[in-house]
């Protein structure tokens, strides 16, 4: 992790990044509580489709949001297991199901741009914008909206 060399007021922040259907997304590090693998999920009949179910997080019951569904992406292929990112918002824990976890990345506001026009409707709502990293676009997820399923 390299610190940006810009002399100007350091308008940087840290994003925890993850992969979802071939794209790289990021959420603010301060929101992320922990990352878990292979959790058993209790389904909730009649819940909105984006609600994957409930997870037992050390005795706390935490809602799991299927981010693929939320972003209008196809369902995760059979046989691949989701990774659970537990985020804490307004004191409450919510978890996001993603494909795989990636690095924590320092991003610079100067690399930031509004969401690309190619993003379609439902996903556009949930993306704050994109950071132009070297060779890769990092989509900044609006966590508050993403969990408001």
């Amino acid at each position: 992790m390299s610190t940006p060399t810009a002399p100007a007021p350091p308008r940087t922040s840290q994003l925890a990044t993850f992969w979802l259907d071939g794209d790289l997304y990021g959420v603010e590090v301060e929101h992320v509580q922990e990352v878990l693998r292979s959790q058993s999920i209790t389904r909730v009949p009649l819940a909105p489709p984006a609600v994957a179910g409930l997870i037992n997080l050390r005795g706390q019951v935490v809602t799991a949001i299927e981010l693929r569904e939320r972003l209008g992406r196809p369902a995760r292929p059979e046989g691949t297991e989701a990774v659970v990112i537990v985020v804490r918002l307004h004191g409450e824990a919510v978890s996001l199901l993603v494909d795989s976890i990636a690095d924590v990345v320092d991003v610079d506001m100067r690399d930031f741009e509004a969401p690309p026009d190619t993003l379609d409707g439902s996903a556009r709502e949930l993306i704050r914008g994109a950071y132009k990293l070297a060779g890769q676009l990092l989509l900044a997820l609006d966590v508050n909206r993403a969990v408001g399923a």
Binding site: T42, P45, G53, N56, Q60, V61
Partner: protein, 786 residues
């Protein structure tokens, strides 16, 4: 501390705490005499004591606090400096106040504590008198004088009367404080404050020592921890159940016990008597009564009934609303009451009691009552439901319409109530804490609103069941019993009536709701077995068909995220013994979603209805259709039917010319409807279909060939065929159906049915009785007797 009322006790506890703080503050103040912050804090404390003691008529305490307050206000404002002798005077004041509090605690009054000396030194400090003037030896004459002067201002320390002639107001500095009891000359020394250590009985702790204030957040945190402990306990008990190590089993049993006791203890710390919220109601009733020109007496029963503090808070506003409603709308004006032959003074009764793990709170008035017809008309007028839907509701159900949003029957909107908001909010609030509300009323006699509130929210006993491979929890509060049917029985006992499944539970028709259907999941029970959890919600009973019953366990209720609240089918989630998450079913929401109002049955009102609607009075009525042989069909008003039963024909015995059958330890007279109505088609069958009718403790059985259906009968198509035992006939379901004269049929079986005193011959009307439920593997027997 009997004899002390709550307010005084609270005052004592609070003051003792404040005084301890005061001691510290004063000493600290000496180090830093200019600290305005500390001075303000001390001033506030004394000011509070003064105010409360004045309100509680502890005049001497008020007097001391008042003089102290004067001194403190000057110090605070910087008009005086804090010198050591002023500090002494203030500390002396604290001691004196403490002595007074001790006396109040011990005797309920201020006792013999003398305050003159303290008042004198405080006044002296106020006057900047030399410190030497304060403590000379007390003379006996001075003592009596001091006592007299003490009494005079003690009456009303703040009135100018205290300034007795001849006593020159010495404080030139204090024109803003003329109410200082100047009658006490600074130089007059009082006797040493008689801090008599009351002969405190050993072992009994004072108010301040026996209670301790604890942050509610801390209690909540403890409750959470206990919840976790209970979960872990469940896990361990489940695991140890499979072990054979005796020591381990014993240890786990101890853990089980201790965890339960701990849970109970922590729960108790959060319990408060309902009187906490009731105590404010007499004033509400009085003021409101005056405002409305009504005279209302408030009676309270069971004020010591305890429930969780959080729940208590949640119930406060709904309860106040109900009380206001009762005074405003329920109780009539004195003139109307006298005209109706009632005493001019109305009585509003609050009742609270524990009942099977719930707290039942009733608000009952002896007012005009609610007229179902008026409620119904109003609801239709407001467009809340159609006249057609209304006609299908029972009177008791009609009353519950007052809880619909936008409903108000007050002829005039007063500033008290009648704006059409309220009852629905009351209902919502009560339901949000897992409670229920229902209203009962007898026109002219009064109205009773009944709240059922769970004891606590955090940990509830629940039944875990399985459906479509997932486990769900059902709070036991709504569970009545469990029924397990094997495939053969289920095929016979579960019937389709008008597209809906019903089960005859000991003769009563129980609407069935299949959980898998409600959840939109495929049931994984394919062997034809049916497991029914009989649930009760808002006075209605229904059977929830589940795949399997797993267990009963204490579950810790966890809130669901906002994304799932809108589903309105789950009241929360919990972590089960094995660590899996299970959803908690919201039984009321389930009933509302799955049952149409007309399929519901009201158990409570059934007995009342059978007595009032014997004859076909209603325009539309629910009818039980039965075949009696020879192709004839008879309709029997469903209201008159208590239960349906099957009786083996060999159990029928003869007593004289009559047939009887032994039924639940009583002798049940039988009338065979085919013979009674002159139809002959019935060859002898092994099992007789029987309709049981009970009235005032007597029962008769009406034998038919076959129970066909339950329909809405229309009285319009009726023709009067004057035949023996029939009221007439009607076209029901495209077929001519005879309407049974129930009364005649019953009299044929038991000629003295209506005339003999209740309960004389046949005890135990089966309406309320619960016979032992079907036993189920793995479910404790005690549980089945819900």
């Amino acid at each position: 501390m009997e004899g002390l009322d709550d307010i005084v006790e609270e005052f004592l506890v609070e003051s003792h705490e404040n005084l301890d703080q005061l001691d510290q503050d004063l000493v600290a103040l000496e180090q830093d005499p200019r600290s305005r912050e500390r001075l303000s804090s001390i001033f506030r404390t004394i000011h509070t004591i003064k105010g409360t003691s004045g309100f509680l008529a502890f005049n001497r305490l008020e007097e001391v606090a008042h003089v102290g307050e004067n001194l403190l206000s000057r110090l605070r404002d910087g008009a005086l400096d804090l010198t050591p002798h002023r500090t002494d005077a203030l500390l002396q004041m604290v001691d004196c106040v403490r002595a007074l509090l001790t006396a109040i605690e011990a005797s309920g009054g201020e006792g013999g504590v003398d305050v003159a000396r303290t008042v004198a030194s405080l006044s002296a400090a106020l006057d900047d008198a030399p410190p030497a003037a304060a403590p000379p030896a007390p003379a006996p004459t001075a003592r009596t004088a001091a006592k007299r002067t003490r009494r005079a201002p003690a009456r009303k320390a703040v009135t100018p009367r205290a300034v007795t002639p001849g006593a020159v107001t010495p404080e030139a500095l204090a024109p803003e404080a003329p109410d200082t009891p100047a009658a006490v000359p600074p130089a007059v020394p009082g006797p040493a404050p008689e801090v008599r250590p009351e002969p405190a009985d050993a072992g009994r702790r004072g108010v301040a020592d026996s209670t301790i204030r604890v942050d509610v957040d801390l209690l909540d945190a403890l409750m959470l921890l206990v919840g976790e402990l209970v979960l872990t306990r469940n896990q361990i008990v489940q695991y140890v159940g499979r072990q054979t190590d005796q020591d381990l089993v014993r240890a786990s049993q101890r853990l089980n016990l201790i965890a339960s006791e701990l849970q109970e203890g922590v729960m108790k710390t959060r319990m408060q008597p309902i009187d906490h919220i009731w105590s404010k109601l007499p004033r509400v009733v009085r003021d409101l009564g005056l405002q409305c020109g009504k005279s209302v007496r408030l009676e309270m029963e069971g004020r010591e009934t305890e429930l969780d503090k959080t729940l208590l808070e949640a119930v406060k506003d709904p309860l106040t609303h109900l009380v206001r409603n009762s005074v405003d709308h329920g109780v009539e004006s004195p003139a109307e009451r006298l005209a109706a032959g009632k005493p001019a003074e109305g009585v509003l009764t609050l009742r609270a009691r524990h009942e099977s793990g719930q707290v039942v709170v009733e608000v009952a008035d002896d007012g005009a009552g609610i007229d179902p017809a008026r409620i119904g008309a109003k609801a239709v007028e407001r467009g809340l439901l159609t006249a057609d839907a209304l006609s299908r509701l029972s009177p008791a159900d009609v009353l519950q319409l007052v809880f619909l949003p936008g409903f108000s029957t007050a002829a005039a909107v007063t500033n008290v109530s009648g704006r059409g908001v309220g009852m629905d909010v009351v209902k919502t609030n009560i339901e949000s804490i897992g409670g229920t509300i229902e209203v009962e009323s007898v026109a002219g006699r009064g109205t009773c609103t009944r709240l059922r509130i769970p004891l606590t929210l955090a940990i509830v006993p629940a039944l875990t069941i399985e459906c479509a491979g997932d486990r769900y929890a059902i709070p036991q509060i709504s569970l009545q019993e469990l029924v397990a049917l094997d495939a053969e029985k289920a095929a016979a006992a579960v019937e389709e009536v008008g597209g809906a499944s019903v089960y005859r539970l000991r003769g009563e028709l129980l609407p069935l709701v299949r959980l898998a259907d409600v959840l939109g999941l495929p049931s994984d029970r394919h062997d034809g077995h049916v497991v029914i959890a009989v649930l009760r919600s808002e006075g209605r009973r229904f059977g929830l068909v589940v795949d399997r019953v797993i267990n009963t366990e204490e579950i810790v209720v966890k809130a669901l995220g906002g994304q799932m609240k809108a589903i309105g089918l789950y009241s929360g989630a919990t972590v089960l013994g094995d660590g899996a998450v299970a959803l908690i079913l919201d039984v009321q929401a389930l009933a509302r979603r799955a049952l149409r109002p007309e399929t519901a049955e009201r158990q409570e009102s059934r007995a009342a209805r059978t007595t009032t609607t014997t004859a076909a009075a209603a325009e539309r009525q629910r009818m039980l259709l039965a075949a009696i042989g020879g192709g004839r069909r008879v309709a029997i008003p469903l209201d008159t039917v208590t239960r349906l039963e099957q009786v083996r024909s060999e159990t029928v015995e003869r007593v004289g010319s009559r047939e009887v059958v032994q039924y639940r330890g009583a002798i049940l007279p039988i009338v065979r409807l085919d013979r009674h109505l002159g139809a002959f088609g019935g060859e002898d069958r092994e099992v007789l279909e029987v309709i049981v009718y009970a009235h005032h403790g007597r029962s008769v059985a009406i034998v038919v060939e076959e129970i066909l259906d339950i329909v809405d009968g229309e009285a319009s198509a009726r023709s009067d065929i004057d035949d023996l035992g029939l009221l007439g006939s009607a076209v029901i379901g495209d077929r001519v159906t005879e309407l049974l004269d129930v009364r005649a049929a019953i009299l044929a079986a038991d000629p003295v049915f209506y005339s003999s005193p209740p309960g004389a011959a046949l005890p135990g009307a089966p309406t309320g009785g619960r016979s032992p439920a079907v036993d189920l593997d793995g479910v404790p027997a005690s549980f089945l007797e819900v």
